[in-house]
Symmetry: C2
Subunit: 241 residues, 2 copies
Amino acid sequence: MQNSNHENFWESMPPLLPSVSIDCTILGFHDNQLKILLLRFKNTNSFALPGGFIDLNEDLQESAQRILKERTGLDNIYLEQFYVFGDKNRRDDKLQKKLMAASGLLLEDDHFLLKRFISIGYFALVDFTKTIPTPDFLSDSCEWYDIDKVPELIFDHNEMVKKALNHLRLGLDEKLIGFNLLPETFTMNELQSVYETILGEKIVRSNFQRKILGLDILQRIEKKMTGAANKAPYLYRFIGK
Amino acid sequence: MQNSNHENFWESMPPLLPSVSIDCTILGFHDNQLKILLLRFKNTNSFALPGGFIDLNEDLQESAQRILKERTGLDNIYLEQFYVFGDKNRRDDKLQKKLMAASGLLLEDDHFLLKRFISIGYFALVDFTKTIPTPDFLSDSCEWYDIDKVPELIFDHNEMVKKALNHLRLGLDEKLIGFNLLPETFTMNELQSVYETILGEKIVRSNFQRKILGLDILQRIEKKMTGAANKAPYLYRFIGK
DNA sequence: ACAAAAGTGTTCTCCATACACCCATGG
DNA sequence: CCATGGGTGTATGGAGAACACTTTTGT
């Protein structure tokens, strides 16, 4: 954490698109819970969604993918724009300065980070088990939190989470995106659990199976050997159609 | 159109948020047709969606509303973000220069209009009869076009229109937004015609009435005096609920 | 009387839900 | 055997599409 690092920090960044940031609501599924990936700024108790800026030579979508890769280690993440947050007072200069100062970065009053930004909200669904959460330069923690225990976040990030979840619920059946929260192969029970958690309601097993299997989007693989004293469940793989 | 106007043009603009533009797909309904409002750049045959930039002291939504007001004369327009267009090569510097030159504006190579922009796509539904289409400084025409006769548009604007229409269709029943294309009061037939046009299919009258009236979102007003030799239709007003 | 508007009734199909029940199977 | 997984049958209710028919009403 030597000072030379700090001096170089901004200069080492590639040319960026001004005024625009990306913030990502990254969701995973574990222990029958929806989880969200949050950063904590160094030496503070301030939490935020993972985010970043757009390099001038990146398509918007590419930027979001890069940011996700940096925080999770994953390529080919399911990713979707859901809203642009553009209120003129959505950010808080004092807080911004404080957060940067906590990382040893002093911002001049005309620093670009203190200018107005709009933020494009992306939401991403990942296979929890495959992620390697990695803090960025400004944070000392990048961890999963239960979706119903999200702490207070900076700026308008709590609103972002709320909107992202709503977007997820609305698109769950329509876009068949629940699979992205599971590993390559999964049992029908696990899938049902994902649906129940996201929708917040119990589903009758037999009806759920009929519905999902009727969509012709799953390939049945083999039995899962559980070692339990009962029939082993089948494994399925999502094949789209 | 004296040169002094041109010299002052950019300087007269308020401070803008860099890199970000707004483009609006403005839809109206007339003669049983969906119509879209398009600009033609001065002294060219290039068409574009109405758009603009974000003043530093405007919320994003306010910017979109202002732009819409400037082109249609209307306040309180139904307005919705639907997508951010952010490919790095979505714009074309040569075309941009040509369009500006056609208005007598010469752009230096480092002019801000030649920098990279992302564009936030808004779509708007307006009461056709109330609009006063008004060209902007760079265009000599602002007119309604049949939605199925949209000419080639600049940049990625044709794609914007396509995405906006898709968005409209998906949200029609869900968000009950069709009413925004009609005057304050309207007949059931007119409303049905809006739905049929947007969805591109015939609907059985009696079923449509049952469905819409069952939603409890319409207030029945009075009879419309048509002067025709038949029963006059009722007028309805949208009351949301 | 006429023509269009408005309302009602009926039938069908489709789909989601709920629930009961059976079979399969790994230990 | 038994606990869980997996599958089927079936009744119900609601939504919506198709169609027929009646009633209303302004000129």
